[in-house]
């Protein structure tokens, strides 16, 4: 009976689900193909400093011009104070942010899930310590800790990924462990044991595949937050190095131009990040509704 109710809930989510999937697909597409899509080198300073985007009315003719190859490609989103093309940077930043967020989550999932399986399945003093340590990590102020870690290790995307993994792995560890604890007492684990399977075999073949579900749902939600954190870190100057295109740092540098009336360098990356994270949040929600809990 309750199944029917859930079924119904999904139907009402139809349009929203497609919006979410659409956003995420576009983001991934842009991230993969950005080098072939952008008209300008996103890190090359030019003489055209702080040029506004062309008025909307001029877009059709400029678009035509671009297609027939007549004259230079316009700066669709204008240029920033360094003369960098905002359009190219906004697109290219999808790649930067997505790579960081994805890598951080993949690393966290690998670490968190394997430690979660270990600490849930084999319970001893070491796994208990591991668990307490990960609890402690979660009481750290996320943003400030990430800033310290990045300051500690230097600004590079690898370090940002590691810092974020440090913060996100405990989430996955917890999720997995809870799941493993419930699985441990399931009859099929006992059955497998009675049928002669080794403990390691059980952990690998039965526990792990069955325990990973919630982590995969969390994955979609956390990617969105990882993008926000990446951008936030860049915003306070602890993110990727300029002039690497990154939404947060684009917003930060663009924000200083806002008061001069230059709204374009910060607005476009702002929209990009809002929409992308929303897309991941929607996908996370859908996954949770469909497969979660």
């Amino acid at each position: 009976m309750t199944d029917v109710a859930v079924e119904k809930d999904q139907d009402s989510l139809g349009v929203l689900a497609w919006i979410g999937i659409g956003i995420v697909s576009v983001a991934i597409f842009l991230a993969v193909f950005s080098p072939w899509l952008i008209p300008y080198d996103p890190t090359q300073a030019t003489e055209n400093v702080s040029t506004p985007p062309p008025p909307l009315s001029a877009w059709p003719s400029l678009f035509w011009q671009t297609i027939v190859g007549d004259g230079p490609t316009p700066h669709w989103f204008g240029t920033d104070a360094s003369g960098l093309d905002v359009f190219s940077r906004t697109i290219e930043a999808t790649r930067t942010d997505l790579i960081i967020a994805l890598s951080a989550n993949i690393v966290s999932v690998i670490i968190g899930v394997s430690l979660g399986v270990i600490s849930g399945y084999f319970r001893n003093i070491w796994t208990e310590t591991l668990l307490r340590t990960s609890d402690l990590l979660q009481s750290f102020p996320v943003f400030i800790t990430a800033m310290i870690l990045v300051a500690l290790a230097g600004r590079s995307w690898v370090n940002i990924v590691l810092a974020m993994s440090f913060l996100y792995a405990p989430i996955y560890l917890r999720l997995t462990r809870t799941e493993v604890l419930a699985l441990r007492d399931r009859s099929f684990i006992e059955a497998a044991r009675a049928l002669g399977k080794t403990e390691f075999g059980i952990a690998r073949q039965h526990i792990l595949p069955n325990a990973i579900g919630p982590s995969l749902i969390q994955f979609s939600v956390t990617i969105g937050f990882a993008i926000l954190l990446t951008a936030g870190l860049s915003f306070v100057g602890a993110g990727v190095r300029p002039p690497t295109p990154e939404w947060g740092s684009m917003i930060a540098t663009g924000a200083t131009q806002l008061v001069l009336g230059d709204w374009w360098p910060s607005l476009f990356p702002g929209i990009a990040i809002s929409v992308t994270v929303f897309g991941f949040a929607v996908c996370g929600h859908i996954l949770e509704k469909r497969y979660g809990r």
């Binding site: 029917v4 119904k8 009859s187 099929f188 006992e190 059955a191 049928l195 002669g196 399977k197 073949q205």
Partner: protein, 592 residues
């Protein structure tokens, strides 16, 4: 139909539908007379619960009563306003549901939940309502109701919560009580007590009752009339005795111990002084699961291990396979001391001892196909060459009468009965000598139970297997076992040949257990019996066990000495042991 003046409630043309689905119930007509107990039965998914709720004018979220009338007195319930309905529900028609613990609000004391329903419908003051709640709790057999009224639902056992729910339902003296599988998940003795209470109340107050159940024993023992649903339609509406005579294929018969009469041979399995405790987290206390358990089982023999939940019978099964390490005692299997084997040797022994678990859905990896689940153990033990594995599992399935087409399916796509047979097939692929059957039928519908028992009996003859059948269902044990071992709170209280235990039980606990057994026969109704031994109160906590006899607090025949002296299992007659110092005395009393 029934006389209209005597009719409490009648439904006409009732249909219920979930949005965009085919109707769950269509065109139901039924009448319930005052003081009548109507059994409502049908296979799962037949719509019996939906009908039970619909009789109150209620549906679960997402469903709707699309058609029909429900006359209660002069009113059509479906034509009343919500406020008027609120008045009738709970006051005139009360409901008991199958999961009492989630039906009670987790954050209010249960007494308050009773009193506020009473207050709502009887408009009494708070103090009076509280008195009423305590009175009702006492009425349904709860000890110390003043204290229990302040308890929260999570502090109550399932049986107690069920009683709270009935107290709540009856507190307003309704004209009709609808009980939706009220005893599922209860132990047999508790179930019997509970149903007795309901039955007596109905007889005393003239309350009509609708009892939704799948248990033929309940239908036979307590119902006047039975309505059977099939796919949302009434398929039968007959008296209980007619229903039983037309629908019940099997009747209980104790099998005589034909095989396994080889007491002079060495036993296949020997358990001596087994003890198992579980530490209680955060304290130094332990939960005693099994204590001083001894058991012998001969090749080809089938032994039943019975007892209620918490008696430690499943723990025994797990210790035999070394799925749990015992604290003390010795287990010998075919001359080999299981206490010392480990690693590869253990795996070889385990191959010979297999287990069939209670919940078939839980005993398969939900992500694996049946084929994978069956092939995996074959590969581990390399029982057959890989090329013949497929043939071997098909052969195994055939043995339990399951079609090979299930191989590509996943557990959730199969019915419980089929899946349990697959589980048996999986165990048998190991070519074991001995099977531990841990409540193999308790999750199944009655029809499936019979099939499983038939398969087990057949396989035993065909393959010469030995069984340890762990069950609280005496019907299964009676039909499949040569010998029965009765456990209570981790101890064996009585053991002996099946017929003797069933026909001449000695220990008061065994007597109560057998007495609580509901035979599927309206002619031997429990409520008509006079020689019942009923236990009082509740099972003591396995953490703080009594010093003397564990049953002393509940035993009607207990003396002061029972409270103080530890009981030992001693021979009562040949092959019949009893753990009761008063056993001989009781038999004498009975005889005189």
């Amino acid at each position: 139909m029934a006389d209209s003046t005597n009719t409490v409630l009648s439904a006409r043309g009732l249909s219920v539908q979930y949005a965009n689905e085919s109707p769950t119930l269509s065109d139901i007509n039924m009448d319930i007379a005052a003081g009548e107990i109507v059994g409502l039965t049908g296979s799962s998914g037949s719509g019996k619960s939906t009908l039970a709720y619909a009789l109150l004018g209620l549906t679960r979220r997402g469903a709707q009563i699309t058609n029909g009338e429900i006359y209660f007195g002069r009113n059509d319930l479906l034509a009343l306003s919500d406020v008027e309905l609120e008045d009738i529900r709970g006051r005139d028609i009360a409901l008991i549901v199958q999961n009492p613990r989630s039906a009670l609000h987790p954050m209010y004391q249960v007494g308050r939940q009773i009193s506020r329903v009473y207050q709502t419908h009887r408009g009494s003051g708070g103090a009076e309502a509280h008195q009423r709640a305590i009175e009702m709790l006492r009425l349904v057999g709860i000890n110390d109701p003043e204290r229990r009224a302040d308890a929260f639902v999570h502090e109550l056992s399932g049986g107690m919560a069920q009683r709270v729910l009935i107290a709540l339902a009856l507190s307003t003296s309704p004209k009709l009580l609808i009980a939706d599988e009220p005893t599922s998940g209860l132990d047999v003795t508790v179930q019997a007590q509970f149903l007795d209470t309901m039955w007596e109340t109905s007889r005393k107050t003239g309350t009509a009752m609708v009892l939704v159940t799948q248990e033929p024993g309940i239908l036979a023992n307590y119902c006047d009339r039975v309505i059977e649903l099939d796919a949302g339609r009434v398929s039968k509406d007959v008296s209980a005795s007619e229903f039983v005579s037309t629908s019940m294929l099997h009747t209980t018969q104790a099998t005589s111990s034909g095989q396994g009469e080889g007491q002079n041979r060495a036993p296949l399995l020997k358990v001596e002084g087994l003890r198992k405790t579980f530490p209680l987290r955060g304290t130094k206390k332990v939960v005693q699961a099994v204590d001083d358990m001894s058991l012998s089982l001969f090749a080809g023999e089938s032994v039943g291990l019975v007892g209620e939940s918490g008696s430690g019978k499943s723990t025994v099964g797990r210790c035999l396979l070394k799925l749990l390490d015992s604290d003390a005692g010795k287990i010998t299997f075919d001359g080999q001391d299981l206490g010392v084997v480990s690693g590869e040797a253990l795996r070889r022994v385990r191959q010979r001892i297999q287990i069939v678990q209670q919940d078939p859905y839980d005993s398969f990896d939900p992500r694996w196909t049946i084929e994978k689940s069956l092939l995996d153990p074959l590969e581990i033990h390399q029982i057959v060459p890989p090329t013949e594995a497929r043939a071997a599992i098909e052969e195994g399935l055939k043995r339990v009468s399951v079609d090979a087409s299930v191989l590509g399916r996943r557990p959730k796509d199969l019915s419980a009965g089929i899946l349990q047979r697959v589980a048996i097939a999986r165990a048998l692929l190991m070519k074991p000598d001995f099977l531990v059957l841990d409540e193999p039928t308790s999750m199944l519908a009655p029809q499936d139970r019979h099939i499983i028992l038939d398969v087990l009996k057949r396989l035993r003859t065909e393959l010469g297997l030995s069984y340890l059948l762990i069950s609280h269902d005496l019907t299964s044990v009676a039909s499949a076992c040569d010998r029965v071992v009765v456990m209570y709170l981790g101890q064996v209280v009585e053991q002996g040949p099946t017929t003797e235990i069933f026909e001449k039980p000695v220990h008061p606990y065994t007597k109560a257990l057998i007495g609580a057994h509901l035979e599927e026969n309206p002619k031997t109704r429990r409520v008509d019996r006079t020689d019942r031994v009923d236990l009082e109160g509740e099972i003591p906590s396995p953490i703080d066990l009594p010093v003397g006899c564990y049953l002393a607090t509940r035993c009607p025949q207990a003396t002061e000495a029972c409270d103080k002296e530890r009981q030992v299992l001693s021979s009562f007659s040949s092959h019949h042991d009893v753990r009761c110092m008063r056993a001989g005395q009781l038999e004498l009393d009975k005889a005189s």
